[in-house]
Structures are given as structure tokens and as C-alpha cells.
């Protein structure tokens, strides 16, 4: 129940908190910028595309910049959440729903009907929106734009413009500023400029796949697809370097950094999905569901996606490995057995060394998911997956009538269901409804792996400051991952949760200085207490000794 009712029924002034004239002009400029893009979608042929693209993106960026400066620099430094639950756009009001529908539609067109954005089919020239981006694409990679280039550019623009806004909002908080500068840098350089420039290296006898260095498997679910691996191997030293780097990232670099700093090193400092969520999605962070039902759903969902992604990747790799160990030692059987052994040793190690930290449901879940994965491995080793045919129409309501081999069926279904629908359409399109981290919380298999490690083998935690918590709930409210932070803080217990991405906003909004993100020793990291610091020391001894 809100005390502030009917705040957004008026279309003329939907919000109680009015914006200034300067902000209205800035908003109008940004909307004109977007309108140019919209005109391009409807095939308005601009005379000089480079100029109009520059005007459009320039207006969007400068509009956001001017708006944000007016919003934050005119006030003293501090927490700026006034009216978050009143504003139509950030409280699931009319504007919020409208934005949600718009974004969702955009993602559906982008993934499934790129021709409506003007993508030239079968060698035809681009038209519409995609053509508008041709000049920029040519400038960077020397090729015409694709729908992915359009998307990548808009994505980067969003992170930069709203990243600037976020940095102003938290201009008193250096953790927030550095973190935001970091995601802005990694998006612009690693996800956008470097891969585009690297495309210039490609020639008839040398080609590298589009490679965002920081985008690891399993978030990058196509990392080990045959075409990609072949391309890397054929690209000699450079390609092999990238391929090996990819594997080293998963098995060495990521576990090391997650041990030292928690998964935040990736999720809220480097990752592109996280980058968009933390910048453009910041206004929606409080919309995530904090209930225990949502938490339960999250645990089932995200672990299932991980199993799905492991199984799919194993299936895909196993089909392009040979059977004959004479030709090359790394055969399908060697691969499947080594995966099986790896998973078994990993699970056995966790169950033995961390048995005291696993509760019953975690224990059961781990065993269940392990058995499921191993069952698939056994199945793969006894059947030639390329001989099992699947008719996609059973799974797509008849939309897709192709027949696939089993491995490519899994691969396509993963790409469609997880890669497109979950991470894109729901993950981002539903920002204004479900909050800005739905994908990261419920779906990302990379987050699952780092999360398990963060819970069990990491120095990271959010420390609670003795008995200072007043249970106000600002921390839980602002947690984009839906963690009920207060439930721990009011018990004086450190927060050690696999889903925490370490954005640090709970700590920032706490009015009593209770929360601090820290890397410290593993001992005493998890500290459930009955009685908080500040009470009778004898009583604390009596009740906290267990």
C-alpha cells in the first residue's frame, strides 16, 4: 500500500516532483534524437546519413547529460532517491509499462525480424535504421552495419550516457564512481571498439570471429561452437592465443579474481549486461522482488540454466570431436570422460570440505543437478548425436519447421530460449517491470558459477556494523538482486550470498553506516548471531556460542 496514491493518472504532469524548464528542453532534445532513429526505421532516407546519425546520437547523449546535471549538480551531494516510488516510469506506472512494451518489442524485432530494421537480406544493401549506421560501421570495421552493430552502438551509448548520470548521482561515493567508469570503459573498448577494429585484420586467408575478450563462457554460450573454434585454430598464433585465453579465463583468471574480490570484479565492474543494468537500469533497481518465493524460484531457475548450458556446450563440442584416437588424442570419449571426472571431483570436494556450510536444500540441489548432468554425459557417450533428429516444430508451436540433429537442436533451443528471450527480451525489455537484474539474477550461468564460488570460496562479504541497524529497509529496497539485505543486517550477520554482485548501493543508501563491502579472511566470514553487539556481554556469550 502506498500512501501516495494516484500519482500517475495525469498524462500532462504524471509526477509530483516537477522537472525544471532546462530539464524539459534536455528531455525534448533527447526525444528528437530518438525520433530521428524512429524515422529511419520507417525508411525515411536521410540525405547525409553520417550527419543525421551524429545529430541523433549527439542529441540523445547531450540531452541525458544536461538533464542529469540539472538533476544532481543543483543539489548537495547525497542520496538521491526522492520520489522513486512515485514517478510513473520507476514505479510500474503508465510510463513504466509503456517503456517496457517498447523495449520488449524492440528486442523481438532485433532478434527475430531484423529485416524490419532495414538489414539487407541476401547481399542487398541495408536500408532504414541499419543503413543509418553504415557510415559509423565503415569508419570502424570497414564493413557495412548489421543489426548487431546498431544494437552494439545504442547499447554503448546507453551505458555511456546513463553511466555519466549515475556518476553524478553518486558523486559523493568513489566506489560507485570508479565502478561505473570501469563498466563504461569495458563496454566501449572491449565490447565495441576493439572487436570492430580487429575486424579490419580479416582478409581472405585470415579471419577472426567477433571476439569480446571479457565475454566468457558460459555467458558467451557460443564460445566453443565449431565454427568459432575452427576460425580461431585457423587464425594461427593470434587465434590460438584467444582460444587459450578464453579457457584460461574460465578456469584460472575468473576463479582467482572471484576468490580475491567476489564476483563483483566481473558482474558490476566489467560485464556488459551488468553495465547496462547499473547505468540505464539504475532507476529500476528497487523493483526486484525481495520475497522468499522469488528467492526459491531464483535458485531453481539459475541452476537449471547452468546445467542446460553445460549440457548444450558439451553436446556441441562432443559432435565435432573425432572417435579415432590414432588421428588425434583428444577424442569425444576422452572429452566426455574428462568432463565427468572434473565435475565429480569438484562436487566431491565441495561436499567434503564445505559440508558444514551446505544446508539440506543446497545439498539435495547439488546432487540432483549433478546426476542430471552426468546422465546427459552418459547419454552423449552412447549415442551419435548427429544421428538423432529433432523436429523443431514440436518445440516452437510450429513456427520453426526445420529438423535438427540433437546437438544443434539443443544449441538452437538454448540460443533462442536463453540467449534471446531470457537475456534480451525479458532480461532487458522488462527492466521497468521486474527490475534491472532479472537476467543476472535468474538466468546468467556465468553468474551461477561465480556465485557458487563466492558463497564458498571467496574473501568477499558485506560486513554488518555491530548493533547499528535500525531495520529501515533501504538496503533491501535498493538491492537489484532481490536480496533481503536487512534480514541479515538486523541480525548483525554478514551478508554472504551467491547472488550479490557487489554494486555497493545497499551500503551507500544505509542511513546509519551499517554496511561495508570488504575482502577479508575466510575465517568468521559467515557469523550468525542470536544477540547483537552492544548488549550484555554475558548474554552474548551465552547465546552466541552455539
Amino acid at each position: 500500500m502506498s500512501n501516495k496514491i494516484d500519482h500517475s493518472m495525469s498524462l500532462a504532469t504524471p509526477d509530483a516532483l516537477n522537472i525544471t524548464t532546462k530539464q524539459k528542453i534536455a528531455l525534448a532534445a533527447g526525444l528528437v534524437g530518438l525520433f530521428i532513429l524512429l524515422l529511419a526505421v520507417f525508411n525515411v532516407d536521410f540525405p547525409n546519413r553520417a550527419v543525421f546519425l551524429a545529430i541523433s546520437l549527439g542529441l540523445v547523449i547531450s540531452g541525458t547529460v544536461v538533464y542529469s546535471r540539472e538533476a544532481y549538480l543543483t543539489k548537495l551531494e547525497g542520496i538521491k532517491n526522492d520520489g522513486a516510488w512515485f514517478k510513473s516510469i520507476s514505479s510500474r506506472g503508465v510510463l513504466g509499462w509503456a517503456l517496457g512494451v517498447f523495449l520488449t518489442t524492440f528486442y523481438i524485432v532485433l532478434y527475430f525480424f531484423p529485416k524490419y530494421l532495414g538489414l539487407g537480406v541476401d547481399g542487398a544493401a541495408n536500408t532504414g535504421l541499419v543503413a543509418l549506421f553504415d557510415p559509423l560501421s565503415n569508419l570502424l570495421s570497414g564493413n557495412n552495419a548489421s543489426q548487431w552493430f546498431v544494437y552494439g552502438t545504442l547499447y554503448t551509448v546507453a551505458i555511456l550516457a546513463f553511466g555519466y548520470k549515475f556518476m553524478l548521482k553518486y558523486r559523493h561515493n568513489r566506489y560507485q564512481q570508479l565502478r561505473t567508469a570501469s563498466v563504461m570503459f569495458f563496454q566501449t573498448a572491449f565490447a565495441f571498439v576493439i572487436p570492430e577494429l580487429m575486424a579490419r585484420l580479416n582478409s581472405d586467408d585470415f579471419s577472426l570471429p567477433y571476439n569480446d575478450l571479457k565475454n566468457m563462457w558460459p555467458l558467451n554460450y557460443y564460445a566453443f561452437d565449431q565454427w568459432r573454434v575452427d576460425q580461431f585454430i585457423n587464425a594461427q598464433t593470434v587465434g590460438l592465443f584467444f582460444l587459450i585465453l578464453g579457457v584460461v579465463m574460465i578456469f584460472v583468471i575468473s576463479p582467482f579474481l572471484t576468490y580475491k574480490y567476489g564476483k563483483r570484479w566481473y558482474c558490476s565492474w566489467v560485464c556488459g549486461c551488468g553495465g547496462l543494468a547499473e547505468t540505464a537500469g539504475d532507476a529500476f533497481r528497487h523493483l526486484s522482488d525481495k520475497g522468499t518465493k522469488a528467492w526459491k524460484f531464483e535458485r531453481w531457475m539459475i541452476n537449471s540454466v547452468l546445467v542446460f548450458s553445460v549440457v548444450t556446450t558439451v553436446a556441441v563440442i562432443s559432435t565435432y570431436l573425432g572417435y579415432d584416437s590414432e588421428k588425434y588424442w583428444f577424442t569425444k570419449s576422452v572429452f566426455l570422460i574428462s568432463i565427468g571426472v572434473f565435475l565429480t571431483v569438484l562436487l566431491a570436494g565441495i561436499l567434503y570440505y564445505k559440508r558444514e556450510e551446505l544446508n539440506k536444500s543446497a545439498f539435495k540441489g547439488a546432487i540432483g543437478f549433478y546426476i542430471l548432468t552426468i546422465a546427459f554425459l552418459v547419454f552423449f557417450s552412447f549415442f551419435d548425436l548427429s544421428q538423432i533428429k529433432i523436429n523443431a516444430s514440436y518445440f516452437s508451436f510450429g513456427l520453426n519447421q526445420n529438423t535438427y540433429n540433437f546437438d544443434s537442436a539443443l544449441r538452437s533451443f538454448y540460443g533462442f530460449g536463453i540467449g534471446s528471450i531470457f537475456s534480451g527480451v525479458i532480461g532487458t525489455g522488462f527492466y521497468p517491470i521486474l527490475g534491472n537484474r532479472t537476467w543476472c539474477r535468474m538466468g546468467c550461468p556465468m553468474a551461477t558459477i561465480m556465485g557458487i564460488q563466492q558463497r564458498l570460496f571467496s574473501r568477499f562479504r558485506i560486513t554488518t556494523n555491530g548493533g547499528q541497524c535500525i531495520s529501515c529497509g533501504n538496503c533491501s529496497n535498493s538491492c537489484e538482486m532481490g536480496i533481503d539485505v536487512r534480514a541479515y543486517a538486523q541480525k548483525g550477520e554478514n551478508i554472504v550470498r551467491s547472488s550479490c554482485v557487489g554494486c555497493g548501493v545497499c551500503s551507500a543508501v544505509c542511513p546509519r553506516g551499517v554496511l561495508k563491502l570488504e575482502n577479508d579472511s575466510m575465517d568468521g566470514r559467515i557469523n550468525p548471531t542470536e544477540v547483537l553487539l552492544g548488549n550484555d556481554v554475558d548474554l552474548m556469550d551465552l547465546l552466541n556460542k552455539n
Partner: protein, 433 residues
Amino acid sequence: MEHVVIIGNGISGVTVARHIRKNSNKKITIVSAETDYFFSRTALMYIYMGHMKFEHTQPYENSFWKKNNIELKKGFVKSIDTASKTLQFAEGDSLQYDKLVIATGSKPNKFGWPGQDLEGAQGLYSKQDLDSIERNAPDNKTCKRAVIVGGGLIGIELAEMLNSRSIPVTFLVRENSFWNGVLPEGESAMINRHIKNHHIDLRLGFNLKEIKSDENGKVKSIVITETEEEIDCNVVGLTAGVSPNIDFLKSSTIEINRGVLVNRHLETNIPDVYAIGDCAEQRDSGIGERRPIEAVWYTGRMMGETLAQTICGNRIEYKPGHWFNSAKFLDIEYQTYGWVYAKPRENEAHFHWKHEDDTKCITVCYDTTNNTFLGINTFGIRMRHEIFDRWLTEKRDVDYVMKNLPEANFDPEFYKHFEKDILAAYNNKLQTA
């Protein structure tokens, strides 16, 4: 099965209920006339400011109470018959108890100002107060100005709330500097300036004479005692402190003074009747340097933690540890550990350091006879409760504390640290002194 009835569903009542449940299978009923479920009243301001909705201030999900077999009863206790162990409700029904816990909290002070009960004149304590301010000050067209009377923690929160909706605020403070009965001069002066920076019309050294009514019985204006100035306003915030909410006990045999009188075991004069939280008053004197009545969130919680032991058969004394507290003045966070009085007492001295940006400062209090560290106030720099609690127990001397201050820092990572500046200023002061 023994029936424990708790009057009041605030932090004290809820804590004692939770801990009794952990230790026993007694029947537990929590009575409240305010809300259906426990909420954090410290967060009321954030609802008005749009940071949260009311349901977000509820620390436990609604299913929690049933799951833990704690019964909730909505009702207003009119009187208590301790002989027959019966509660009479204003609604007409009654309830039997075996053990009774009074945890009814506080109510805003009203000092008999003319017009203090008009529509639009209110404190900020209960859910009903929040509803009232939402009714009378939804925006700056309905409420063209608000006047706040009383310069304490709730007054400044109310000012921040109204400010968030662009409602002009006049803030009448009786003292000649904000909260200077508690804060040392340098800190109080810094907060004065911070309040004014937020465009709040802070009037120091002024008292309320009367509140005038319009023809509908609503607040129209106030008059200042000292100047006879009349200020037009639509809302008057009465935030001159709180006192125990125990009027319903006046006809009972339970002994009361300002609050419900309890001994160190939180027992009243009547067997099986206890009182905890804001409404309890220590019978003989406050514990240590604490006051007999402490209207603080965490003391309510600690009394609840303690009393649950007694009710479950392990009778123990209420022995709070070192004093600590915290608050936030608009954008400036405040924490305190140990005792720092507004003015150093006999054999005490203060060391004060303030950053040039005028939003951060600390005051350290120590004993001049043996240099023992007695307490610290910190503004704009977060510090660790655990460290200061330990240093106070170990009776560290002030030099040790100043040298090891970095260990106590609790600011977020990458924040600028000021311990070197503080230590330099401290050493400098010793040399010149």
C-alpha cells in the same frame, strides 16, 4: 501452556516475542492498535519521500508470524486488571494472560500549546502520523509552508521529508544551536550550516507561542513567542521529544512515573508483568550513565533479547554494554560510541577535528587525569562499532585510539581517508596546549 501477551508490536515487543519463540513453545500474542504487522518506524520518513513503500518497512514477511506461531491481535488496550490477569479492549472484548509484557513505546510531547490538537498539527512517530502528514502536506500547493517546532532527531527528519516535496520549511529551535544539549558546539554549528544549505529556514532561539486555526479547524499560522511574528503555514510539526505512551495504565495497579517503573530485571511491581522499550523507566536510576528512560531503537531490541531469557526461565538482569547510537542529519551521517557530552565534564577534555568541506568532523572525549578514551562522535565518516566497543572495554588511552583510528574506519572502499589529518591535528594540538 503459558500465555504470554505483549502489548505493542514495535521492535521491543517483536524482539521479545521472537526470542521467546526460539526458546519455548509458549503461546504468544502480540497486541497492537497501530498496524497489522510490525514495521520499522525509523523508516516512516522514507515512505513520504518516495524511497520506499509502506510494505518495504516491514522487516518480516506477513507469513512469518503464522509460521512461527505468533498470534497477532489488532486492538486498543483500554485497561488492565492485574488481579484477574485480564486485558480490556476499547473494542469491548478481553484477553487473559499468564505473563504480560508492556512495550507500548512513546508518543510525541505536547506542552500545552494553544492549538496543538488542530488538524495539521502533529508529531512524527506512528503510522497514523504518516497518514496525517500525507493528508495535510501532499505537495507544495496544498501545504504552502510547514513549521517544525523542536530541534531534535525527529524534527530534522521531518524537515528533510517536507523538503523532498519542495514544501518550504521554517524550523523553530528553542536552543541557540541545533541539538546542542547533546552535540558539542563545533558539531552542532556544522549541522546548523548544513540545514541552511538545504534552504531550510532555521530559526535558532525561538519558541512557539500558539497555533492559530482557520474556520475549518485546520492549522492556519503560528506565532513566535519572542517576536510575536506570525507565520502562515498549513502544517505544524511538533517534534519536541517523546514520552512514554502509558496513559492506559493510570487506572491499573502497575506503578508508573513518567514511564512504567521496572527494576534491573525489567519487572514491574506486579508479578508476571514486565515493561521494555521506550515506555520502561528504570526505577532507581539509569544504568551507568544511561538515562532511566531510553527511547532508542536498539535499547528496545536489547531489552527484548534480555527479557525473553527471564520469561523462559533464565532470569537475568538487563545489562546494556557501551553506549552507542547513530542518526542522519539530511546528508550527514552521525555515529557515536561511548560518552561525549555537549560540554566536557569535570576531568574531561574534547579533541575536535573538522574537515574544510564542512560535512565531516569528529569529537573525541578523554579523561584528563589518566588519558583514558571515553567516547567519540563522528560525522560524515563511518566507523566500526566492534572496534570502539573493544577499545572502550579495554580502557585504551586516547593516544592509542588516535594512532589506530584507521583500524576503525568503516567507509566504503576507495573513499578518501582522513586519519592522517586527524592525527596530525591531534598531535599539533597537544604541542600547542
